[in-house]
Symmetry: C2
Subunit: 306 residues, 2 copies
């Protein structure tokens, strides 16, 4: 399929929002909601780096959108539209592009987001897929990583480490388990939770590279330390310390990690369990406990890119 | 240089706008100007496709920003900020990244645009570089391709085909000529002209793939035809019909092509010559004339991607 045909089909099937102008112009035009701050993020997934080349293309499309919307959720923003930047190789043949487009359409509909435009490049050695996501937030309600204060309590949504288990399933290293596989391939951005945390949480971010490494980033940005009770961390299945350490250093969960002033009851979002897993302290760094015993912090806290 | 170090250095040197939040959060937050429509575009350049792998990295950075700002200019928008999406290979070593970053910094400053954030991926087989550019325009003043009406006059900025000559220089197929080389490697987005055309021109776009192919796209989007006087097209140097045909089918000029109601005097922008090169007519398609003679429309109108 020639690039122009692919774009024409994208426009016809997915570019139906007026802001997209039918992909007929050089850029999208959008009237933002009055009195809102805008939130922008851009994340890239590369075949063989962030997903496996033989992952279903509809799942790749889902994940590409989900990881970007997760960044908006982490800022307490409401998603509005996205731009695509697709670099494709010969491996992304007609069937792949069709399935990708269909999957992207379903994901856009699920998350109520519009496709506004983008660019497609062919002839690469492997797929490099980018999305820019645009959302909005009430001024002053954007979440950030730097607002946690000593005494705040540390919370996390969902269960931690499921995506790492799903990765093992997708690599054939663990028995087939559709639910865990979907946690890896089709993560759920915590959009409603993120919005509810705006103006409530003191700091927040999404867990993309591993609970511990992301907690360390939040702690560093806030100039505090974090004590984490590993036995409180919500995980799938009954496990011991070694298993928990594997879960909290696995990436791709896209749950929200956030801090609340002590005693604050977090917002209730249907289907999204929230668990208090620790607290912010003065002394910098991450400190771990399991069954009331100090646990040495592992050397590797999660995924380090580069 | 590890990805995290590279991003940290990008943030420290270029991410100084408050909207970037020091690259410390999951996304950028920006308060848009009140009562303006926002304009978004995303363009990707791949090494070996859109630029030569041994082009100077500072020129690659310049071009990456310029082609995106050219899309904003084509919509009559004022640029505000950009997000980077850098996919890098081993070929983009420490020295390359340094030079790219320095060049990007100079280009951002030249065009008065802020770097708000982005994502970097390493370990690819070749560089795939994306930028999302965000700008604003007064409501109703965004230019588009679809507004040309029969009787309108067709105008173009600058000179046409210089970038194609510069490409030949960069490939060693033409004698060294710094000015033409720069027209290929360091195009100038016509931002001031684009802004001045908002609410004045009936249609407009930037010439990225060749004057003829882009004129055909404008004609198709507007549901009109275009007659082009090839001897009126501004080109560098004294040339005959064959040379002019080569110029008007060469890409990468990033001049603006636009239509004005007959007799309208275009805005004056210092240093940007404007030339009337034809007119819009009822009958669809592109018709060419040279020295009062009809010229057959060439098979190949410009760069077709895919």
């Amino acid at each position: 399929m020639a690039e122009r045909d692919f774009i024409a089909r994208l426009a016809a099937t997915l570019g139906t929002d007026p802001a997209a102008r039918g992909f007929a112009d050089d850029a999208a035009v959008w009237m933002p909601p009055i009195g809102r701050s805008l939130v922008f993020t851009h994340d890239v997934l590369a075949a063989g780096v962030h997903y496996l080349p033989d992952d279903p293309p509809s799942d790749v499309a889902w994940k590409l959108l989900a990881v970007n919307l997760s960044d908006l959720a982490a800022m307490a923003a409401t998603p509005a539209g996205v731009l695509l930047g697709l670099g494709l190789s010969a491996a992304e043949d007609h069937a792949w592009r069709d399935a990708f487009m269909a999957g992207l359409g379903r994901a856009l509909k699920t998350f109520d987001v519009s496709l506004w435009g983008g660019d497609t490049v062919t002839g690469l050695d492997r797929a490099v897929l980018g999305i820019t996501a645009i959302g909005w937030v009430e001024p002053g309600k954007a979440l950030g990583r730097s607002g946690a204060r000593p005494g705040d309590e540390l919370w996390v949504s969902g269960t931690v480490g499921d995506a790492g288990l799903g990765l093992a399933v997708s690599q054939g290293k663990a028995p087939y388990n559709k639910q865990l596989l979907n946690r890896f391939r089709r993560p759920t951005p915590r959009i409603a939770l993120g919005k509810a945390l705006g103006g409530v949480a003191t700091a927040g971010m999404d867990v993309s590279d591993g609970l511990l490494i992301d907690a360390e980033r939040l702690a560093t940005a806030s100039g505090i330390g974090l004590e984490i009770d590993l036995d409180a961390v919500p995980v799938t299945g009954a496990v011991g310390l070694d298993d928990v350490l594997a879960r909290v250093t696995a990436g791709d969960d896209y749950e929200l990690l956030f801090t609340l002033p002590a005693g604050t009851i977090p917002p209730t979002i249907a289907g999204v369990p929230l668990t208090r897993i620790g607290r912010a302290v003065d002394a910098a760094g991450i400190r771990l406990r399991f069954a009331d015993t100090v646990v040495p912090t592992p050397q590797r806290l999660g995924w380090e890119h580069g």
